[in-house]
């Protein structure tokens, strides 16, 4: 009984301590904002940051839409940001408060989801590409057709992301990756059915684990994960698929329900500083859109083929609304059939 009372007292202290000073409620991908950056910001501004996390953009959306907690700054992926802008869930940014925006390369401020960057600021850019363990695979792998061959059955890991997998089939067939229609899905179906029979592991969270463990020799993974693999061991190579690829962007944006708008702007401008942005690159070897920060990186960091591949047009995923249900059904069906 006594210990229960003690616990209650502890709780009260914990709750009241959390309600002091100016605060910023950050809602971002798990571990995507380095602790160093948050500590530096708090030290400089006195603003206490509470960092809530999510593992998928949809998880973020689900929690945000339900209400219950007001977030000041979120990190949506490109296609979700697009839908949020259209539904007036994001607040226009006050560019005057973001002088450090000038460090960003102009092409990253004109992405399809928000061409004028009125609502969003790019955080990091990635691509989805092929990782090859060159010690075990001697054939040249240039794209999806080279990768998905029967002889590589059970030696492949791919991200567990239905839309990604469908988009690879679409570009292989010469179709637009964003044209998710029933006809296109029907065309892609036989190809995907063949492919997923060859896959040993689907994993979005840590697709590099089976590659490092030696359970598989090939993978289609996020570029940042691939970059970490290459840093770990030079036997891994990264290839952008010849059939076509797409970049994806994680953004920073302020929801309309935000309470601490000024603090959110301060944090945004803080992370756009070259020396702060560099800290993020040090921990997450994705493509940094901040040109001034790139100048601070080591030649080895810049030479990592997964971090800074030669990129052409920045053709990102667009929001496809309800067509997602068709993808879901198609993939559930094909995976179930492949497991028989």
């Amino acid at each position: 009984m006594k210990s229960l009372r003690l616990l209650c007292a502890l709780l009260l202290v914990a709750v009241s301590a959390a309600r002091a000073a100016e605060a910023l409620n950050l809602f971002a991908w798990s571990e995507y904002v380095p602790q160093k950056v948050i500590d530096g910001f708090t030290k400089e501004t006195g603003i206490k940051v509470s960092y809530a996390t999510y593992a998928t953009g949809e998880e973020m959306l689900a929690k945000l839409l339900a209400g219950g907690a007001a977030y000041d700054l979120i990190q949506p992926p490109d296609y979700i940001a697009e839908a949020m802008i259209r539904n007036k869930l994001l607040r226009p940014l006050d560019r005057a408060k973001l002088p450090n925006l000038r460090h960003l390369a102009p092409e990253f401020l004109a992405l399809p989801h928000d061409p004028a960057s009125a609502y969003t600021v790019p955080w990091m850019l990635g691509t989805v590409g092929i990782v090859v363990n060159t010690e075990r695979v001697k054939d040249p792998i240039r794209g999806y057709r080279d990768l998905f061959q029967p002889k590589f059955k059970n030696r492949i890991v791919v991200v567990n992301d239905n839309r990604e997998i469908v988009s690879w089939a679409l570009v292989t067939l010469g179709l637009n990756q964003n044209a998710i229609t029933r006809e296109n899905l029907a065309k892609a179906r036989p190809l995907i059915a063949e492919w997923i029979k060859l896959v040993k592991v689907f994993d979005s969270d840590s697709p590099t684990t089976p590659l490092l463990n030696g359970d598989v020799d090939l993978g289609v993974v996020w570029s940042g994960e691939a970059a970490k693999l290459i840093n770990e061991n030079k036997k891994f190579a990264y290839v952008l698929p010849a059939e076509g690829y797409h970049p994806y962007v994680d953004l920073m944006a302020i929801p309309t329900t935000a309470k601490n708008v000024a603090a959110a702007h301060r944090f945004l401008d803080y992370v756009l500083r070259p020396e702060v942005s560099k800290l993020i690159s040090d921990e997450f070897p994705y493509t940094n859109p901040n040109l001034a920060a790139r100048k601070l990186l080591t030649p080895a960091q810049l030479a990592n083929p997964a971090s800074y591949p030669p990129m052409g047009k920045l053709d990102t995923f667009r929001d496809i609304g309800k067509a997602a249900a068709d993808i879901d059904k198609l993939m559930t069906d094909l995976k179930t059939a492949a497991a028989k």
């Binding site: 689900a62 839309r163 030696g214 309800k322 879901d328 059904k329 497991a339």
Partner: protein, 292 residues
């Protein structure tokens, strides 16, 4: 103050003040945090989603129609299969352990109980990764088998259905051990001796004496393992390589995955729960009938 006490269970009338004192917390909790969310779910299941994935309240049966698509039925069937295998293996493994624990002398009982439970106080994810370290093709188990020349080439252990069942058994074993222990502990060893003296072999005395007396615990264990195991998805993702979609994965994808279709997810969950609530209700009624 005396109240009428009748010999059969569950038949006494509740005195008024005690009734509220005992009943209120349970009833209030169930209504507020079980009935209310279940109603929300029910409403969702007849609604539609908008472009963003918000729920739009209408009345449609389309979600239910989709749920009975063969694709999702076969997913459901497969989930049942995995859960049934898990439950059976858990029961076989847990029974002797629970029995030994129950027969141990009292100070050892609690120690054994903790010995069984402590592994589960480490994070699920860390435990699962430890299994991956053991099972991967260059892992500890394959290394051991190769070293002792039991096998010539590494076995494919990880990312197989077997690995998924292993992971499920490992995750749910305590939920079988503990309820069986709870009801086996009260068993009087004299009963078994009596059975023995009456000429029962060990197997017969188990089947005729021990099993019937521990049946409630076993039943509770089955319930605690089988039903949650159907909805489990993290293990099939981590140890099965997410190759086989289970019903938990499908529901998960509707709520926080790309499908963004809460009404459909809700319909799947409602069907799922209706089946089990019905089975559970029948089971409870049978248990009652047996007592009366």
């Amino acid at each position: 103050m005396t109240i009428p006490v009748q010999p059969t269970q569950g038949s006494a009338q509740l005195p008024r003040p005690a009734r509220w004192f005992l009943l209120a917390p349970l009833a209030v909790w169930l209504v507020a945090f079980v009935v209310a969310p279940a109603l929300i779910l029910l409403v969702y299941s007849f609604s539609e989603r908008d472009e963003l994935g918000r729920v739009v309240f209408t009345f449609t049966l389309e979600n239910y129609a989709r749920a009975f698509d063969p694709v999702y039925l076969s997913v459901f069937g497969r989930s049942l299969g995995y859960a049934a295998a898990t439950t059976a293996i858990c029961a076989v493994l847990a029974y002797p352990v629970a029995w030994c624990m129950a027969q141990a002398r009292p100070p050892w009982r609690d120690r054994l109980l903790l010995l069984v439970m402590i592994p589960f106080w480490t994070s699920f994810l860390i435990r699962t990764y430890a299994w991956i370290t053991i099972l991967k093709s260059e892992g500890l188990l394959n290394g051991l088998l190769l070293y002792t020349h039991t096998i010539a080439a590494p076995l494919e252990l990880l990312y197989t259905p077997g690995a998924v069942v292993l992971g499920l058994v490992y995750a749910y074993l305590p939920f079988m051990i503990l309820p069986i222990y709870g009801s086996a502990e009260k068993l009087d060893p004299a009963l078994i001796e009596a059975a023995h003296d009456l000429g029962c072999g060990p197997w017969q005395s188990f089947a005729r004496v021990v099993l019937p007396l521990t049946r409630p615990g076993l039943a509770a264990g089955v319930m605690m393992v089988f039903v949650p195991a159907i909805g489990m998805f993290a293990i099939s993702d981590l140890m099965g390589g997410a190759r086989v979609p289970l019903i938990g994965n499908v529901i998960q994808d509707q709520f926080v995955g790309q499908a963004r279709d809460k009404p459909f997810g809700a319909a799947l969950a409602v069907i799922f729960m209706l089946i089990f609530v019905t089975v559970y209700w029948l089971w409870q009624r049978r248990a009652e009938a047996r007592v009366a």
